[in-house]
């Protein structure tokens, strides 16, 4: 039982370490692929803003409304 518990704890520690190491080598698409001439879906500065949910209640007005409130 002791070996099992230590093994599970070790697996969790190693998995957590792996998550940090992998995150170190990963960048968001808007960071990796944006250039001075092309903006790639930056959630902070895109056209609809960071708080846009995509949930359009009223198709006639919703899109504009969400875009205004989000930016």
């Amino acid at each position: 039982m002791k070996a099992f518990l230590v093994a599970v704890a070790a697996a969790l520690v190693l998995a957590t370490a792996a998550s940090f190491l992998l995150a170190e080598n990963q960048r968001f698409a808007y960071q990796a692929f944006a250039t001075s001439g092309a903006r790639v879906s930056d959630p902070g500065n895109n056209l609809v803003g960071p708080r846009w949910t995509g949930d359009i209640k009223d198709p006639g007005q919703g899109g504009h409304h969400k875009a205004e409130t989000g930016s």
Binding site: F4, S19, L22, V40
Partner: protein, 333 residues
């Protein structure tokens, strides 16, 4: 003269081709202007991929359509769920049938019952359980990739399923590393005792004692255990290699290569799960006394003499020439 012949041939070709062009019409008989426009089929005749030029530094995004993607999707959405379902459920059915026909293999009591012999030391058990616990999570999260949206999502709803699948994906990616480490540990620990030999062939010919009452001789690992060992090492390394290719997309191969990696990963994965189900069965429910080997590390001497007689002799010979048991353990004699 040659020029005149060429012109005549061209005119004849156009005359023959004209009715064919004229026949391309919409169902109501009206001319169809898009019929002669560039279409997907025509583009694929020029190049195996449909791709263009892009202005962001991500060359792979230039690919619009890659025909093998359809074959991969066909496999992923049609073949794989059937193959996976048949392999895993087939193994469960076979184990159930075996249990109800053969029953649990009982411990045979003898005068040595009650005495213990060390079968796996603490580090061996640690390596086994680290690999095993990761494997269980990897299996469940892997099966979720195939069956989750079909079986789980209708039960728990799309939002709960999306959250679960997201955490399942994290678990799959991160626990893969301790799993691979565990496979390497086990390879180093047990490779020496898992080299196939003549005795394994005899064990196999006698059905390993599973089908009758015979108990063929075996060393530390019998032929069945050796098969499980090599399956875990071979499949484990293959799953690791194909998995790494997918964790780091486009690092070593293109989109088609990654699709092939996914096909290999998933096919090996479902066979791996089926194989480990059999291993779990025989190590717990299927054979009395077998679990102790990985539970406490010590097994009943009577059980060991029945199932691993050559190994017991070897251990007792070592004991005779000096202590081989750890602190607090009873010698096997």
């Amino acid at each position: 003269m040659r020029r005149l012949t060429s012109i005549a041939l061209l005119a004849a070709t156009l005359a023959l081709a004209a009715p064919a062009v004229a026949q391309v019409r919409a169902p109501d008989g009206a001319p169809n202007p898009t019929a002669s426009s560039v279409n997907e089929e025509m583009l694929f005749k020029q190049d195996p991929k449909i791709h263009g030029r892009i202005s962001i530094p991500n060359a792979t995004a230039a690919n619009l359509i890659q025909p093998q993607g359809r074959e991969w999707r066909q496999f992923r959405e049609s073949w794989l769920p059937w193959i996976g379902g048949l392999v895993v459920l087939g193994m469960l059915a076979a184990l159930g049938l075996f249990y109800f026909t053969r029953g649990r293999i009982r411990l045979e009591h003898s005068e040595e019952s009650g005495k213990k012999i060390l079968r796996f030391n603490a580090f061996e058990r640690f390596s086994h359980w680290m690999t095993a616990s990761c494997f269980i999570v990897l299996s469940l999260s892997g099966l979720n990739y195939i069956f989750g949206k079909r079986l789980l999502m209708p039960l728990i709803g799309p939002e709960a399923f999306a959250t679960l699948a997201q955490y399942g994906k994290y678990a799959h990616i991160y626990l893969a590393w301790p799993f691979m480490l565990g496979v390497l540990f086990m390879l180093v620990l047990w490779v020496r005792d898992n080299i196939p030999g003549k005795i394994d062939w005899i064990w196999l010919k006698q059905g390993g004692g599973l089908l009758g009452d015979a108990h063929p001789s075996a060393g530390r690992f019998n032929a069945g255990q050796k098969m499980v060992f090599w399956m875990v090492v071979g499949f484990g390394l293959a799953m690791g290699a194909t998995g790494i290719m997918m964790i780091f997309p486009f690092a070593a191969t293109d989109i088609n290569g990654m699709q092939i990696m996914q096909v290999i990963h998933s096919l090996i994965g479902v066979v791996f799960i089926a194989g480990i189900l059999a291993h779990i069965y025989i190590g717990s429910l299927g054979m009395e006394g077998a679990y102790d080997a990985m539970g406490s590390g010590e097994v009943d001497l009577a059980w060991a003499k029945v199932h691993h007689d050559l190994w017991v002799k070897e251990q007792q010979a070592k004991t005779a020439s000096g202590p081989q048991l750890g602190r607090g353990q009873v010698p096997a004699e």
